[in-house]
């Protein structure tokens, strides 16, 4: 691309004066007419305006520690502004309601993790804890499981089978003479009962393991959810606190500017 040449007298100085609008009215009118007919000046003027626009984005950082000055501290520096390093921000700066909410959240999560159970029954109030471990002797005290649990049908069938077997045993012992054709000996009966009992124990163990696994899974899921809630709540608290500080500072700065203008 061929760049045209502009030989306007005092062009560079006039361009700057025109750019910053610090030019006599007569010179402005003359140079403006020139710019309208000069491609190079038009392009350069637009480019320099773009540079100025970009420069406007450059703001110096807030000084962490500024001049020691008592009245300024009293007026321009609201309590807890970010001139102090953020690392030393105190919980005293957090609003009271936020501290209470955080405390309740932590308490709830702690109770969940500690597997705290509070119950009221005929014996009065009962408080039980155990770090996510359910003792075997307390398995019976676990809350009722849904009727659709897969092991419930098996358990019912087993119970029915045991009742049938016991009834048949009772009938055999009550009328031995009436059942001479029975081929089941005592040894066979004992072995069968033992098998049934063993099978029942195995089912109960599986049931217990299943219940414990479900509870552990629920506790872990709840703990993860609570941790996420705590994390987001703390982030919200920090953001809210900083937002309040920024608003206070902007308000004070505004008042300061207004007072200076007056």
């Amino acid at each position: 691309m061929i760049e045209t040449i502009c030989n306007y007298d005092g062009r560079d100085d006039l361009l700057v004066a025109y750019l910053y609008d610090e030019i006599d009215a007569a010179d402005r009118a003359t140079f403006s007419a020139h710019v309208n007919g000069c491609g190079r000046c038009t392009r350069e003027l637009a480019a320099l305006r773009g540079v100025r626009s970009t420069l406007s984005a450059w703001a110096p950082p807030e000084p962490r520690v500024i001049t020691s000055y008592e009245p300024r501290t009293a007026i321009a520096e609201p309590r807890g502004t970010s001139h102090a390093p953020r690392a030393v921000r105190s919980w005293h700066d957090v609003p009271g309601w936020a501290q209470v909410a955080a405390a309740l959240l932590v308490l709830g999560v702690s109770m969940g993790i500690a597997n705290v159970e509070v119950r009221r029954d005929g014996a009065g109030w009962t408080l039980r804890t155990g770090w996510s471990r359910v003792p075997a002797q307390n398995a019976a005290a676990l809350p009722a499981t849904p009727a659709s649990a897969p092991w419930r049908a098996d358990l019912t069938a087993l119970e029915r089978q045991m009742r049938t077997e016991l009834q048949s045993i009772s009938a055999t012992r009550a009328v031995p003479a009436a059942a001479p054709t029975s081929t089941m000996t005592d040894a066979e009966l004992q072995r069968r009962v033992r098998t049934i009992i063993q099978e029942s124990e195995r089912r109960q163990e599986r049931e217990l393991a299943l219940r414990v696994g479900e509870i552990m899974k629920d506790v872990n899921a709840q703990r993860q959810a609570d941790l996420v809630k705590i994390n987001s709540s703390l982030g919200f608290i920090q953001t809210s606190t900083y937002g309040e500080q920024m608003k206070q500072r902007e308000l004070v700065n505004y008042l300061l500017k207004v007072s200076q203008k007056q």
Binding site: D13, A17, I66, P71, G243
Partner: protein, 201 residues
């Protein structure tokens, strides 16, 4: 209670007195008057020093030293120029001394440690993290481009762009003809245009 009364007193000053009047009152023995001058001009002087030097801590030192020297020399201020111009001159001289003493161009701190989490923690509530990151990157680009400028062009652009001084005020401040100020501005802007175009590409 004392602080509150004192604050009200200083606030009343800011609504009543001009810089020159505050200087006169300070010379007359009123310490709050000079404090009010510090309050008015602390941030502009710090901003000037930071843009010239490019280092936050050194800019803060220059700012404090500026007011210290101004206070010591207050009796010598006769009002030939505006108080702000006098203050700018002290600050610019200190910056110039700093640059010569350090024998280096302004230091640009690259945003290598740009951390979105940190930004989200410090961001203003109405500004998104993306905007904040973009602003930081743009600041870095401008600082880097400004660092390419010779000291006189850099000073002229800073005084014009960020402190809105007139050509004549800049000329008086740095002690050069008015046409030289315009030339420095034009040349500086041309360099910046080139450097910013490089960054964009």
């Amino acid at each position: 209670m004392f602080g509150s009364n004192r604050a009200e007193k200083v606030s009343a000053y800011s609504m009543t007195w001009s810089d020159e009047e505050l200087v006169a009152r300070s010379i007359g023995g009123d310490p709050d008057s000079f404090n009010q001058l510090v309050l008015r001009w602390e941030r502009p002087i710090y901003a000037l020093a930071y843009r010239v030097i490019g280092r936050e801590e050194d800019a803060r030192d220059v700012c404090q030293e500026t007011f210290l020297r101004a206070f010591r020399a207050l009796n010598g201020f006769r009002g030939q120029a505006k108080f702000s111009s006098w203050l700018y001159r002290i600050a610019l001289n200190l910056c110039r001394d700093w640059v010569r003493r350090e024998r280096r161009t302004p230091v640009i701190q690259a945003p290598d440690d740009l951390d979105a989490l940190e930004l989200s923690a410090i961001r203003e509530p109405t500004v998104s993290v993306d905007d904040l990151v973009a602003r930081r990157e743009l600041t870095f680009i401008v600082e880097r481009a400004m660092a390419k400028l010779p000291e006189d062009q850099r000073t002229a652009i800073i005084l014009k762009e960020y402190h809105e001084l007139t050509f004549q005020e800049i000329a008086d401040l740095v002690g050069c003809p008015l046409s030289t100020v315009k030339t420095r501005l034009y040349q500086g802007l041309a360099v910046l245009r080139r450097e910013l175009a490089k960054s964009e590409s």
